[in-house]
Symmetry: C2
Subunit: 235 residues, 2 copies
Amino acid sequence: MHALAHEAPLTRSVEDYLKVIYHLSSQGGFAATSDIAAMLDLAPPSVSGMVKRLSEAGLIEHVPYRGVQLTAQGRRAALRMIRRHRVLETYLTQQLGYDWDGVHAEAERMEHAVSDDLIERMAGALGDPRYDPHGEPIPTAALEIEEAELVRLSEAAVGQALELREVATQDPARLRYLAEQGLTPGAQLVVTDRQPFNGPTTVQLRGSSAARVVGQELARLLLCRPGGGDGDARA
Amino acid sequence: MHALAHEAPLTRSVEDYLKVIYHLSSQGGFAATSDIAAMLDLAPPSVSGMVKRLSEAGLIEHVPYRGVQLTAQGRRAALRMIRRHRVLETYLTQQLGYDWDGVHAEAERMEHAVSDDLIERMAGALGDPRYDPHGEPIPTAALEIEEAELVRLSEAAVGQALELREVATQDPARLRYLAEQGLTPGAQLVVTDRQPFNGPTTVQLRGSSAARVVGQELARLLLCRPGGGDGDARA
DNA sequence: GTCGGATATTAGGATACCCTAAGCCAGCAG
DNA sequence: CTGCTGGCTTAGGGTATCCTAATATCCGAC
Protein backbone atom coordinates (compact mmCIF):
# COMPACT_ATOMS: atom_id res chain seq x y z
CA MET A 1 0.00 0.00 0.00
CA HIS A 2 2.01 2.83 -1.45
CA ALA A 3 3.90 3.90 1.62
CA LEU A 4 4.44 7.58 0.98
CA ALA A 5 1.62 8.14 -1.46
CA HIS A 6 0.75 11.61 -0.29
CA GLU A 7 4.06 13.36 -0.02
CA ALA A 8 3.92 16.97 1.01
CA PRO A 9 4.23 19.22 -2.01
CA LEU A 10 7.85 19.90 -2.81
CA THR A 11 9.25 23.34 -2.29
CA ARG A 12 10.91 25.32 -5.04
CA SER A 13 14.31 24.64 -3.56
CA VAL A 14 13.71 20.94 -3.44
CA GLU A 15 12.55 20.94 -7.03
CA ASP A 16 15.70 22.74 -8.08
CA TYR A 17 17.94 20.37 -6.18
CA LEU A 18 16.28 17.35 -7.73
CA LYS A 19 16.67 18.75 -11.20
CA VAL A 20 20.37 19.39 -10.88
CA ILE A 21 20.95 16.06 -9.19
CA TYR A 22 19.23 14.44 -12.14
CA HIS A 23 21.50 16.20 -14.58
CA LEU A 24 24.66 15.58 -12.59
CA SER A 25 24.01 11.92 -12.03
CA SER A 26 22.61 11.16 -15.47
CA GLN A 27 26.02 10.10 -16.74
CA GLY A 28 28.00 8.73 -13.85
CA GLY A 29 26.36 7.38 -10.76
CA PHE A 30 26.81 9.99 -8.05
CA ALA A 31 26.34 13.73 -7.90
CA ALA A 32 28.95 15.36 -5.69
CA THR A 33 27.70 17.92 -3.21
CA SER A 34 30.22 20.48 -4.38
CA ASP A 35 28.94 20.11 -7.93
CA ILE A 36 25.38 20.57 -6.75
CA ALA A 37 26.49 23.66 -4.86
CA ALA A 38 28.20 25.05 -7.94
CA MET A 39 25.18 24.42 -10.16
CA LEU A 40 22.80 26.10 -7.74
CA ASP A 41 25.24 28.81 -6.74
CA LEU A 42 25.10 27.87 -3.08
CA ALA A 43 27.69 27.25 -0.40
CA PRO A 44 28.51 23.56 0.07
CA PRO A 45 27.18 23.41 3.65
CA SER A 46 23.77 24.49 2.42
CA VAL A 47 23.79 21.50 0.14
CA SER A 48 24.79 19.15 2.95
CA GLY A 49 21.82 20.36 4.93
CA MET A 50 19.39 19.91 2.09
CA VAL A 51 20.85 16.54 1.22
CA LYS A 52 19.96 15.34 4.68
CA ARG A 53 16.37 16.53 4.31
CA LEU A 54 16.03 15.04 0.84
CA SER A 55 17.30 11.67 1.89
CA GLU A 56 15.02 11.66 4.93
CA ALA A 57 12.20 12.38 2.52
CA GLY A 58 13.19 9.39 0.43
CA LEU A 59 14.01 11.42 -2.64
CA ILE A 60 17.71 10.67 -2.77
CA GLU A 61 20.26 8.16 -1.51
CA HIS A 62 23.23 9.73 0.22
CA VAL A 63 26.62 8.08 0.63
CA PRO A 64 28.59 10.42 2.88
CA TYR A 65 31.73 11.85 1.32
CA ARG A 66 30.75 10.35 -2.01
CA GLY A 67 27.63 11.97 -3.28
CA VAL A 68 23.97 11.40 -3.91
CA GLN A 69 21.72 9.56 -6.32
CA LEU A 70 18.02 9.89 -6.97
CA THR A 71 15.63 7.25 -5.73
CA ALA A 72 12.84 6.17 -8.07
CA GLN A 73 10.63 8.72 -6.38
CA GLY A 74 13.20 11.46 -6.71
CA ARG A 75 13.75 10.60 -10.34
CA ARG A 76 10.05 10.89 -11.03
CA ALA A 77 9.94 14.28 -9.37
CA ALA A 78 12.97 15.42 -11.36
CA LEU A 79 11.54 14.24 -14.66
CA ARG A 80 8.31 16.00 -13.88
CA MET A 81 10.22 19.26 -13.46
CA ILE A 82 12.13 18.64 -16.65
CA ARG A 83 8.92 18.03 -18.55
CA ARG A 84 7.50 21.24 -17.14
CA HIS A 85 10.55 23.22 -18.02
CA ARG A 86 10.80 21.94 -21.56
CA VAL A 87 7.10 22.26 -22.32
CA LEU A 88 7.21 25.82 -21.01
CA GLU A 89 10.24 26.69 -23.10
CA THR A 90 8.58 25.29 -26.16
CA TYR A 91 5.33 27.08 -25.51
CA LEU A 92 6.92 30.43 -24.77
CA THR A 93 9.02 30.15 -27.90
CA GLN A 94 6.30 29.05 -30.25
CA GLN A 95 3.32 30.97 -28.89
CA LEU A 96 4.72 34.07 -27.32
CA GLY A 97 7.69 34.91 -29.47
CA TYR A 98 10.49 34.22 -27.03
CA ASP A 99 13.96 33.56 -28.43
CA TRP A 100 15.61 30.27 -27.63
CA ASP A 101 18.30 32.10 -25.75
CA GLY A 102 15.99 34.14 -23.54
CA VAL A 103 13.38 31.61 -22.65
CA HIS A 104 15.27 29.71 -20.02
CA ALA A 105 14.97 32.13 -17.13
CA GLU A 106 11.24 32.60 -17.61
CA ALA A 107 10.62 28.86 -17.71
CA GLU A 108 12.85 28.39 -14.70
CA ARG A 109 10.56 30.52 -12.58
CA MET A 110 7.28 29.33 -14.03
CA GLU A 111 8.04 25.64 -13.72
CA HIS A 112 7.60 25.90 -9.96
CA ALA A 113 4.32 27.76 -10.11
CA VAL A 114 2.07 26.26 -12.73
CA SER A 115 -0.23 23.27 -12.39
CA ASP A 116 0.17 19.99 -14.19
CA ASP A 117 -3.10 20.83 -15.87
CA LEU A 118 -1.62 23.95 -17.44
CA ILE A 119 1.42 22.07 -18.64
CA GLU A 120 -0.78 19.50 -20.33
CA ARG A 121 -2.89 22.21 -21.92
CA MET A 122 0.23 23.87 -23.27
CA ALA A 123 1.58 20.58 -24.53
CA GLY A 124 -1.77 19.88 -26.16
CA ALA A 125 -1.88 23.30 -27.81
CA LEU A 126 1.53 22.53 -29.30
CA GLY A 127 0.57 19.03 -30.48
CA ASP A 128 2.54 17.23 -27.77
CA PRO A 129 6.00 18.22 -28.85
CA ARG A 130 8.80 15.73 -28.30
CA TYR A 131 11.70 18.19 -28.28
CA ASP A 132 12.20 21.61 -26.81
CA PRO A 133 13.73 24.55 -28.69
CA HIS A 134 17.22 23.35 -27.81
CA GLY A 135 16.49 19.89 -29.18
CA GLU A 136 16.33 18.28 -25.78
CA PRO A 137 13.78 15.50 -25.49
CA ILE A 138 10.66 16.32 -23.49
CA PRO A 139 9.62 13.57 -21.08
CA THR A 140 6.13 12.30 -21.80
CA ALA A 141 3.28 12.96 -19.40
CA ALA A 142 4.00 9.47 -18.08
CA LEU A 143 7.54 10.70 -17.41
CA GLU A 144 9.34 8.55 -19.92
CA ILE A 145 12.28 10.23 -21.56
CA GLU A 146 14.04 9.39 -24.76
CA GLU A 147 17.63 8.33 -24.21
CA ALA A 148 19.34 9.04 -27.47
CA GLU A 149 22.84 7.94 -28.43
CA LEU A 150 24.40 11.26 -29.21
CA VAL A 151 28.01 12.18 -29.81
CA ARG A 152 29.56 15.49 -28.99
CA LEU A 153 30.70 17.32 -32.06
CA SER A 154 34.05 17.65 -30.32
CA GLU A 155 34.40 13.87 -30.47
CA ALA A 156 32.89 13.02 -33.84
CA ALA A 157 35.21 11.47 -36.40
CA VAL A 158 36.41 13.58 -39.29
CA GLY A 159 34.38 12.77 -42.38
CA GLN A 160 31.30 11.80 -40.45
CA ALA A 161 27.85 13.06 -41.44
CA LEU A 162 25.78 14.22 -38.49
CA GLU A 163 22.49 15.77 -37.58
CA LEU A 164 22.73 18.32 -34.81
CA ARG A 165 20.18 17.25 -32.24
CA GLU A 166 20.81 19.14 -29.03
CA VAL A 167 22.56 22.26 -27.86
CA ALA A 168 23.47 21.52 -24.28
CA THR A 169 23.61 24.95 -22.73
CA GLN A 170 21.21 27.61 -21.57
CA ASP A 171 23.70 30.44 -21.78
CA PRO A 172 22.09 33.18 -23.86
CA ALA A 173 25.35 34.48 -25.32
CA ARG A 174 26.46 31.06 -26.53
CA LEU A 175 23.00 30.22 -27.82
CA ARG A 176 22.77 33.46 -29.73
CA TYR A 177 26.17 32.94 -31.32
CA LEU A 178 25.41 29.37 -32.31
CA ALA A 179 22.11 30.40 -33.88
CA GLU A 180 23.92 33.04 -35.92
CA GLN A 181 26.20 30.30 -37.19
CA GLY A 182 23.23 28.21 -38.22
CA LEU A 183 24.02 25.67 -35.54
CA THR A 184 20.55 24.87 -34.26
CA PRO A 185 18.87 21.50 -33.78
CA GLY A 186 18.13 19.86 -37.09
CA ALA A 187 21.18 21.24 -38.85
CA GLN A 188 22.81 18.70 -41.13
CA LEU A 189 26.58 18.70 -41.08
CA VAL A 190 29.73 16.87 -42.02
CA VAL A 191 32.93 17.03 -40.02
CA THR A 192 35.66 18.13 -42.41
CA ASP A 193 38.55 18.75 -40.06
CA ARG A 194 39.76 18.81 -36.48
CA GLN A 195 42.90 20.41 -35.15
CA PRO A 196 44.93 18.46 -32.63
CA PHE A 197 45.26 19.21 -28.90
CA ASN A 198 41.59 19.97 -28.32
CA GLY A 199 41.63 22.24 -31.30
CA PRO A 200 38.61 23.46 -33.21
CA THR A 201 36.38 21.26 -35.33
CA THR A 202 35.46 22.35 -38.83
CA VAL A 203 32.10 21.35 -40.24
CA GLN A 204 30.38 21.74 -43.54
CA LEU A 205 26.76 22.84 -43.22
CA ARG A 206 24.44 21.14 -45.68
CA GLY A 207 21.97 23.40 -47.34
CA SER A 208 24.02 26.50 -46.89
CA SER A 209 27.21 24.90 -48.18
CA ALA A 210 29.04 27.02 -45.65
CA ALA A 211 31.97 25.95 -43.48
CA ARG A 212 32.10 26.64 -39.76
CA VAL A 213 35.02 26.43 -37.39
CA VAL A 214 33.86 25.53 -33.89
CA GLY A 215 36.14 25.75 -30.88
CA GLN A 216 36.32 22.86 -28.48
CA GLU A 217 34.27 24.47 -25.75
CA LEU A 218 31.31 25.01 -28.04
CA ALA A 219 31.81 21.75 -29.93
CA ARG A 220 31.35 19.90 -26.65
CA LEU A 221 27.88 21.41 -26.34
CA LEU A 222 26.70 20.23 -29.75
CA LEU A 223 25.19 16.77 -29.43
CA CYS A 224 24.74 15.03 -32.73
CA ARG A 225 23.14 11.94 -34.16
CA PRO A 226 25.40 10.07 -36.58
CA GLY A 227 24.32 9.60 -40.17
CA GLY A 228 22.77 12.94 -40.81
CA GLY A 229 19.92 12.89 -43.25
CA ASP A 230 21.57 12.28 -46.64
CA GLY A 231 24.83 11.94 -48.50
CA ASP A 232 26.57 8.64 -47.95
CA ALA A 233 24.71 8.07 -44.71
CA ARG A 234 22.81 4.85 -44.84
CA ALA A 235 22.89 3.36 -41.39
CA MET B 1 16.14 61.75 -5.78
CA HIS B 2 13.71 58.85 -5.58
CA ALA B 3 14.48 57.71 -2.09
CA LEU B 4 13.70 54.01 -2.29
CA ALA B 5 14.13 53.57 -5.99
CA HIS B 6 15.62 50.12 -5.84
CA GLU B 7 13.43 48.26 -3.41
CA ALA B 8 14.31 44.65 -2.86
CA PRO B 9 12.05 42.42 -4.92
CA LEU B 10 8.88 41.69 -3.04
CA THR B 11 8.26 38.21 -1.76
CA ARG B 12 5.18 36.24 -2.63
CA SER B 13 3.74 36.82 0.80
CA VAL B 14 4.22 40.53 0.54
CA GLU B 15 2.57 40.58 -2.85
CA ASP B 16 -0.41 38.73 -1.48
CA TYR B 17 -0.75 41.03 1.49
CA LEU B 18 -0.66 44.10 -0.72
CA LYS B 19 -3.31 42.73 -3.00
CA VAL B 20 -5.77 42.00 -0.24
CA ILE B 21 -5.06 45.30 1.46
CA TYR B 22 -5.85 46.99 -1.84
CA HIS B 23 -9.16 45.21 -2.09
CA LEU B 24 -10.10 45.72 1.55
CA SER B 25 -9.28 49.40 1.58
CA SER B 26 -10.64 50.23 -1.86
CA GLN B 27 -14.01 51.20 -0.43
CA GLY B 28 -13.48 52.46 3.09
CA GLY B 29 -10.19 53.84 4.22
CA PHE B 30 -8.61 51.20 6.45
CA ALA B 31 -8.11 47.49 6.13
CA ALA B 32 -8.47 45.76 9.50
CA THR B 33 -5.81 43.25 10.38
CA SER B 34 -8.41 40.64 11.22
CA ASP B 35 -9.94 41.05 7.77
CA ILE B 36 -6.54 40.66 6.17
CA ALA B 37 -6.01 37.54 8.25
CA ALA B 38 -9.36 36.14 7.16
CA MET B 39 -8.70 36.84 3.48
CA LEU B 40 -5.27 35.21 3.58
CA ASP B 41 -6.34 32.43 5.91
CA LEU B 42 -3.71 33.33 8.50
CA ALA B 43 -3.75 33.86 12.23
CA PRO B 44 -4.06 37.52 13.23
CA PRO B 45 -0.64 37.70 14.90
CA SER B 46 0.99 36.70 11.65
CA VAL B 47 -0.62 39.71 10.07
CA SER B 48 0.55 42.01 12.85
CA GLY B 49 4.09 40.87 12.20
CA MET B 50 3.89 41.39 8.48
CA VAL B 51 2.18 44.74 8.93
CA LYS B 52 5.16 45.94 10.86
CA ARG B 53 7.55 44.85 8.11
CA LEU B 54 5.40 46.35 5.38
CA SER B 55 5.15 49.69 7.07
CA GLU B 56 8.89 49.74 7.71
CA ALA B 57 9.30 49.09 4.00
CA GLY B 58 7.11 52.07 3.23
CA LEU B 59 4.43 50.05 1.51
CA ILE B 60 1.64 50.70 3.99
CA GLU B 61 0.61 53.13 6.70
CA HIS B 62 -0.32 51.48 9.96
CA VAL B 63 -2.53 53.02 12.63
CA PRO B 64 -2.37 50.62 15.58
CA TYR B 65 -5.67 49.09 16.56
CA ARG B 66 -7.30 50.64 13.52
CA GLY B 67 -5.90 49.13 10.39
CA VAL B 68 -3.69 49.83 7.45
CA GLN B 69 -3.74 51.74 4.20
CA LEU B 70 -1.50 51.51 1.18
CA THR B 71 1.06 54.19 0.48
CA ALA B 72 1.47 55.34 -3.11
CA GLN B 73 4.28 52.85 -3.47
CA GLY B 74 2.22 50.05 -2.00
CA ARG B 75 -0.69 50.91 -4.23
CA ARG B 76 1.53 50.72 -7.28
CA ALA B 77 2.79 47.32 -6.23
CA ALA B 78 -0.78 46.14 -5.60
CA LEU B 79 -2.00 47.38 -8.97
CA ARG B 80 0.89 45.66 -10.65
CA MET B 81 -0.19 42.37 -9.11
CA ILE B 82 -3.78 42.99 -10.10
CA ARG B 83 -2.75 43.66 -13.68
CA ARG B 84 -0.74 40.46 -13.69
CA HIS B 85 -3.56 38.46 -12.26
CA ARG B 86 -6.18 39.77 -14.64
CA VAL B 87 -4.01 39.50 -17.73
CA LEU B 88 -3.19 35.94 -16.77
CA GLU B 89 -6.83 35.07 -16.21
CA THR B 90 -7.73 36.52 -19.56
CA TYR B 91 -4.92 34.76 -21.37
CA LEU B 92 -5.58 31.39 -19.78
CA THR B 93 -9.25 31.69 -20.59
CA GLN B 94 -8.89 32.84 -24.17
CA GLN B 95 -5.79 30.95 -25.25
CA LEU B 96 -5.76 27.81 -23.19
CA GLY B 97 -9.39 26.98 -22.74
CA TYR B 98 -9.75 27.61 -19.03
CA ASP B 99 -13.23 28.25 -17.64
CA TRP B 100 -13.86 31.51 -15.91
CA ASP B 101 -14.52 29.62 -12.72
CA GLY B 102 -11.34 27.59 -12.72
CA VAL B 103 -8.83 30.13 -13.81
CA HIS B 104 -8.38 32.00 -10.57
CA ALA B 105 -6.20 29.53 -8.72
CA GLU B 106 -3.82 29.10 -11.63
CA ALA B 107 -3.41 32.84 -12.08
CA GLU B 108 -2.96 33.23 -8.35
CA ARG B 109 0.16 31.10 -8.43
CA MET B 110 1.55 32.33 -11.71
CA GLU B 111 1.22 36.01 -10.90
CA HIS B 112 4.15 35.70 -8.50
CA ALA B 113 6.40 33.86 -10.90
CA VAL B 114 6.24 35.42 -14.32
CA SER B 115 8.14 38.43 -15.62
CA ASP B 116 6.61 41.73 -16.58
CA ASP B 117 7.83 40.94 -20.06
CA LEU B 118 5.69 37.83 -20.24
CA ILE B 119 2.64 39.71 -18.98
CA GLU B 120 3.08 42.32 -21.68
CA ARG B 121 3.53 39.64 -24.32
CA MET B 122 0.34 37.98 -23.19
CA ALA B 123 -1.51 41.28 -23.11
CA GLY B 124 -0.21 42.02 -26.58
CA ALA B 125 -1.26 38.65 -27.93
CA LEU B 126 -4.76 39.40 -26.65
CA GLY B 127 -4.85 42.92 -28.09
CA ASP B 128 -4.44 44.65 -24.76
CA PRO B 129 -7.70 43.64 -23.17
CA ARG B 130 -9.36 46.09 -20.81
CA TYR B 131 -11.44 43.60 -18.86
CA ASP B 132 -10.81 40.15 -17.49
CA PRO B 133 -13.22 37.23 -17.86
CA HIS B 134 -15.16 38.38 -14.83
CA GLY B 135 -15.55 41.85 -16.26
CA GLU B 136 -13.11 43.41 -13.85
CA PRO B 137 -11.06 46.23 -15.34
CA ILE B 138 -7.42 45.43 -16.03
CA PRO B 139 -5.01 48.16 -14.94
CA THR B 140 -2.95 49.48 -17.84
CA ALA B 141 0.77 48.82 -18.06
CA ALA B 142 1.13 52.29 -16.53
CA LEU B 143 -0.99 51.01 -13.63
CA GLU B 144 -4.04 53.16 -14.19
CA ILE B 145 -7.29 51.45 -13.39
CA GLU B 146 -10.77 52.31 -14.52
CA GLU B 147 -13.02 53.28 -11.65
CA ALA B 148 -16.50 52.62 -12.90
CA GLU B 149 -19.72 53.69 -11.23
CA LEU B 150 -21.42 50.38 -10.80
CA VAL B 151 -24.48 49.42 -8.80
CA ARG B 152 -25.04 46.07 -7.20
CA LEU B 153 -27.96 44.24 -8.70
CA SER B 154 -29.22 43.85 -5.14
CA GLU B 155 -29.60 47.62 -4.94
CA ALA B 156 -30.80 48.51 -8.43
CA ALA B 157 -34.27 50.05 -8.70
CA VAL B 158 -37.09 47.95 -10.03
CA GLY B 159 -37.71 48.81 -13.67
CA GLN B 160 -34.14 49.82 -14.35
CA ALA B 161 -32.29 48.63 -17.43
CA LEU B 162 -28.75 47.47 -16.70
CA GLU B 163 -25.72 45.95 -18.28
CA LEU B 164 -23.98 43.37 -16.14
CA ARG B 165 -20.36 44.46 -15.97
CA GLU B 166 -18.64 42.54 -13.23
CA VAL B 167 -19.11 39.40 -11.23
CA ALA B 168 -17.33 40.09 -7.97
CA THR B 169 -16.37 36.65 -6.78
CA GLN B 170 -13.83 34.01 -7.61
CA ASP B 171 -15.74 31.15 -6.08
CA PRO B 172 -15.99 28.46 -8.77
CA ALA B 173 -19.36 27.12 -7.63
CA ARG B 174 -21.01 30.52 -7.70
CA LEU B 175 -19.38 31.44 -10.99
CA ARG B 176 -20.51 28.22 -12.59
CA TYR B 177 -24.06 28.71 -11.43
CA LEU B 178 -24.20 32.29 -12.64
CA ALA B 179 -22.84 31.31 -16.03
CA GLU B 180 -25.54 28.66 -16.33
CA GLN B 181 -28.09 31.37 -15.67
CA GLY B 182 -26.62 33.50 -18.42
CA LEU B 183 -25.39 36.02 -15.90
CA THR B 184 -21.99 36.85 -17.29
CA PRO B 185 -20.43 40.24 -18.05
CA GLY B 186 -22.16 41.93 -20.95
CA ALA B 187 -25.60 40.52 -20.18
CA GLN B 188 -28.36 43.07 -20.71
CA LEU B 189 -31.07 43.00 -18.12
CA VAL B 190 -34.03 44.78 -16.64
CA VAL B 191 -35.02 44.56 -13.00
CA THR B 192 -38.62 43.45 -12.90
CA ASP B 193 -39.14 42.77 -9.22
CA ARG B 194 -37.58 42.63 -5.80
CA GLN B 195 -39.00 40.97 -2.72
CA PRO B 196 -38.76 42.89 0.56
CA PHE B 197 -36.47 42.09 3.49
CA ASN B 198 -33.38 41.40 1.41
CA GLY B 199 -35.42 39.14 -0.78
CA PRO B 200 -34.50 37.99 -4.25
CA THR B 201 -34.33 40.25 -7.28
CA THR B 202 -36.03 39.21 -10.48
CA VAL B 203 -34.53 40.26 -13.79
CA GLN B 204 -35.51 39.92 -17.38
CA LEU B 205 -32.63 38.87 -19.63
CA ARG B 206 -32.62 40.64 -22.96
CA GLY B 207 -31.92 38.44 -25.87
CA SER B 208 -33.11 35.30 -24.22
CA SER B 209 -36.35 36.86 -22.96
CA ALA B 210 -35.96 34.69 -19.90
CA ALA B 211 -36.61 35.70 -16.30
CA ARG B 212 -34.16 34.96 -13.51
CA VAL B 213 -34.70 35.12 -9.78
CA VAL B 214 -31.47 36.00 -8.00
CA GLY B 215 -31.10 35.73 -4.25
CA GLN B 216 -29.62 38.60 -2.33
CA GLU B 217 -26.23 37.03 -1.75
CA LEU B 218 -25.62 36.54 -5.44
CA ALA B 219 -27.30 39.79 -6.44
CA ARG B 220 -24.72 41.62 -4.33
CA LEU B 221 -21.97 40.14 -6.48
CA LEU B 222 -23.42 41.38 -9.75
CA LEU B 223 -22.12 44.85 -10.50
CA CYS B 224 -24.05 46.62 -13.19
CA ARG B 225 -23.88 49.75 -15.28
CA PRO B 226 -27.20 51.60 -15.50
CA GLY B 227 -28.88 52.07 -18.87
CA GLY B 228 -28.06 48.75 -20.42
CA GLY B 229 -27.53 48.80 -24.12
CA ASP B 230 -30.93 49.25 -25.72
CA GLY B 231 -34.66 49.75 -25.03
CA ASP B 232 -35.40 53.09 -23.47
CA ALA B 233 -31.77 53.55 -22.48
CA ARG B 234 -30.30 56.60 -24.10
CA ALA B 235 -27.95 58.17 -21.60
C1' DG C 1 -18.00 56.13 34.14
C1' DT C 2 -16.62 51.62 34.45
C1' DC C 3 -16.76 46.69 32.90
C1' DG C 4 -16.46 43.21 29.54
C1' DG C 5 -15.84 41.34 25.25
C1' DA C 6 -14.01 41.77 20.82
C1' DT C 7 -10.01 42.98 18.42
C1' DA C 8 -4.95 43.89 18.15
C1' DT C 9 -0.52 43.28 19.60
C1' DT C 10 3.51 41.28 21.91
C1' DA C 11 6.04 37.09 23.47
C1' DG C 12 8.00 32.99 22.42
C1' DG C 13 8.63 29.09 19.35
C1' DA C 14 8.83 26.27 14.90
C1' DT C 15 10.29 25.44 10.01
C1' DA C 16 12.79 25.97 5.83
C1' DC C 17 16.39 27.87 3.87
C1' DC C 18 20.65 30.26 3.56
C1' DC C 19 25.56 31.61 5.33
C1' DT C 20 30.60 31.50 7.51
C1' DA C 21 33.86 29.16 10.33
C1' DA C 22 35.60 25.13 12.20
C1' DG C 23 36.41 20.14 12.19
C1' DC C 24 36.59 15.54 9.82
C1' DC C 25 37.78 12.02 6.41
C1' DA C 26 39.69 9.78 2.27
C1' DG C 27 43.09 8.86 -0.54
C1' DC C 28 47.41 10.20 -2.80
C1' DA C 29 52.52 11.65 -2.29
C1' DG C 30 56.35 10.45 -0.59
C1' DC D 1 52.49 3.69 6.00
C1' DT D 2 52.07 8.35 7.45
C1' DG D 3 50.80 12.86 6.71
C1' DC D 4 48.69 16.50 3.97
C1' DT D 5 45.20 18.61 1.20
C1' DG D 6 40.84 19.26 -0.63
C1' DG D 7 36.21 18.05 -0.38
C1' DC D 8 32.44 17.13 2.98
C1' DT D 9 30.14 17.75 7.06
C1' DT D 10 28.97 19.70 11.56
C1' DA D 11 28.37 23.87 14.46
C1' DG D 12 26.31 28.00 15.12
C1' DG D 13 23.83 32.06 13.18
C1' DG D 14 20.51 34.89 10.44
C1' DT D 15 16.05 35.93 7.82
C1' DA D 16 11.33 35.36 6.56
C1' DT D 17 7.23 33.45 7.60
C1' DC D 18 4.06 31.01 10.16
C1' DC D 19 1.89 29.45 14.75
C1' DT D 20 -0.23 29.49 19.88
C1' DA D 21 -0.66 31.72 24.24
C1' DA D 22 -0.62 35.74 26.82
C1' DT D 23 -1.38 40.70 27.13
C1' DA D 24 -2.98 45.23 25.81
C1' DT D 25 -6.44 48.40 23.92
C1' DC D 26 -10.73 50.15 22.46
C1' DC D 27 -15.59 50.90 22.80
C1' DG D 28 -20.26 50.10 23.59
C1' DA D 29 -23.43 48.44 27.37
C1' DC D 30 -25.10 49.36 31.41
